[in-house]
């Protein structure tokens, strides 16, 4: 079980998202199989180099950073469908995120038995596989969106904002107070880690022997590498599906509704229906994000779903990256998560300075971080309203002027 053996397995797990990025970055002239092959080679080489060069302690930090970044990327992609493309002002992302997280947790855990049952309560526990949990999370968040959106989306957009704030608070309070549902104020524990058998002995029984041998050197401490591969795969799938839909007439209708509802109705589009669809699709994606979060954290409770982390940051991410651009949403998620965690370091380093200004300032460091993000948001809105990469000029795939 030397470090050297694990390097190969780790680099292969890291290579997955890099493979996708590299294959897309290669020129479109190349045939698809060449791009896939070259992308795989390039992605793996980069992953191997990173695994070899970066010390394993820092690597573990980077990997968990990327996992949280991926979860936020999923949320930002969901918000992008609602706000970026359709102009729906949802400031209750936390509600759909929480419902997704708790749903997947309840679907995949088992009912506590024996002594544990005295301490931990939950409405049900199906012990279903991870994938079932993720899908159920999407369905539950989508149903919530139908219930909220049905009556409110016909009204002016500020009503949706008010309604979504209310729903987010409501959902959080329900999970806080209803002990029978998901253990109330206490964390709901024991949420299973998908593919954990890769890092455990005796390993996954279904895996072919050569692959099993490849992953054998991984120890439970390396599980984050496995989860990063899963999380980035979810980001990739959501991204690809959304891009297809957005670049087709579906996305065109969304943008038309965003630009001018009356004019969209004038050309025969059922505005109420379009808005509801976009709201539900966005919420389903946020539900997926919730499931990803739950299985990463293993234990979740209502405090994880407050407006700051689960709504405000996602908004800043989308604004920073570029509203109306799916790549912008992903970029913004990683960039802002970097700024947010980086700001914590800076505040920490600045402790002596803060102490020199006022003795109680260091204890208030976290608030400085919030102030900083608020200033960043102001800066974006004033000087860079389209974000780092804004909406493209040609969104509909076949509307581009390729031939004359």
């Amino acid at each position: 079980m030397g470090m050297g053996d694990a390097t190969l397995a780790k680099s292969l797990l890291l290579a997955l998202p890099l493979w996708f990025v590299a294959a897309r970055a290669l020129p479109a002239r190349l045939p698809w199989f060449a791009r896939v092959a070259l992308g795989a080679a390039a992605g793996w080489l980069v992953a191997l180099a990173v695994t070899l060069v970066v010390p394993s302690g820092q690597m573990a930090y980077l990997v968990s950073f990327a996992i949280v970044g991926s979860i936020y990327a999923v949320l930002a992609l969901g918000l992008n469908v609602q706000w970026g493309y359709t102009g729906l002002f949802n400031i209750g992302i936390a509600a759909f995120f929480a419902v997704g997280a708790f749903t997947s947790a309840l679907v995949t855990t088992r009912m506590p038995t024996g002594a544990a049952a005295a301490f931990s309560q939950q409405a049900f526990g199906l012990g279903a596989p991870f994938l079932a949990g993720v899908l159920a999370a999407g369905v539950a968040a989508g149903v919530l969106a139908l219930l909220v959106g049905g009556p409110t989306l016909r009204l002016r957009e500020d009503y949706l904002a008010i309604a979504t704030i209310g729903i987010a608070e409501l959902v959080r309070l329900v999970f806080q107070n209803e002990r029978w549902l998901a253990n109330g104020p206490q964390p709901l524990r024991g949420i299973p880690q998908p593919l954990a058998c890769l890092v455990r002995d005796p390993g996954c029984g279904w895996l072919p022997a050569p692959l099993a041998a490849l992953f054998d050197p991984l120890t439970p401490r390396d599980y984050t590498y496995v989860y990063l591969a899963i999380a980035t795969l979810v980001v990739i799938v959501v991204y690809v599906v959304l891009e297809r839909a957005i670049r087709s007439p579906w996305g065109r209708v969304l943008r038309a509704v965003r630009e001018d509802e009356a004019a969209a109705a004038m050309v025969g589009k059922d505005v109420a229906r379009v808005r509801l669809q976009a709201f539900v699709v966005g919420a389903v994606i946020m539900g997926f994000g919730g499931a990803l979060y739950a299985h990463y954290m293993i234990a979740i409770d209502y405090t994880h779903f407050d407006a700051l982390y689960a709504t405000f940051l996602v908004w800043v991410m989308l604004m920073l990256g570029g509203s109306g651009n799916n790549r912008g949403a992903i970029l913004g998620a990683f960039a802002l998560w970097g700024v947010w965690t980086g700001a914590a370091f800076v505040v920490d380093l600045a402790r002596p300075l803060l102490a020199a200004i006022s003795s109680d300032l260091p204890a208030r460091g976290p608030y400085l971080r919030l102030l900083f993000i608020a200033l960043l948001m102001l800066f974006i809105l004033l000087y860079r309203p389209k974000g780092m990469i804004g909406e493209e000029r040609f969104v509909s795939r076949d509307s581009q002027g390729r031939d004359g």
Partner: protein, 281 residues
Amino acid sequence: MEQTTGKLGEDRTGSAPAGAPPPALLRVEGLTKSFGGLQAVNHCSFDVRAGSITALIGPNGAGKTTVFSLISGFLRPDRGRVELDGEDLTGLGPHQVFRRGLCRTFQIPREHGSMTVLENLMLVPPEQLGERFWNPIVRPRAVRAQERAIRDKALEVLELLTLSHLRDEYAANLSGGQKKLLELARTLMADPRIVLLDEPAAGVNPSLMARIREKIVQLNAERGITFLLIEHDIPLVMGLCDPVIVLNQGTKLAEGPPSIVRGDPRVLEAYLGGQHGAVDG
């Protein structure tokens, strides 16, 4: 499907047999709408003949735009009825009215500003396969083939309305007159039976207006599209439209060929408040 892929210039079947009196394509009966205490439209009735270019004129505040909104489903009438080719449209939403072949434009153009001109047009055809979320993922080829057909049609419409050079421009960057043309172009993407134009000449320079006018005549003659238009430019109305319907205080005051209407004392009274003179703009 057929509508979206149909080529321009294909003949539209005229509904009137030769010799018979031309039937009413659009029939408005006893339309009434008030906003609070204001009676905007008051028992308004008129017919629009199939194949005609009919004008709806009247002094400011006569209720012309409100009538348009009532016909096209943007407003719900308090009382009265709207019929298109015998079918009751009353109470339908704007998108449902549109799908029955009635399009309107707005007094102030309402383009989708941060979409290109071409995409503004490609938006229009109804029931596109790719408008359903799953189709682009499950049936990408069919969606793409249809997109190409729609795109070709949009390019034809742009050519017809001499907007081809602007196809990749953001619609927001167009001049006021070009936006009016774009609105007209949008209605053509739908193969409409009747088009309601709200002040097509307002804010448009004379040479562009001549072009819009020429296109209206051409579309009417070649494709049999019926037009109902609100206009304040009296010479334009008199030269282009027959019949002319005059609206005053939310109800029909007079109707007839332009030469008759312009001499009607009631019309002069409504426009000029009692000072007699010729209405000549």
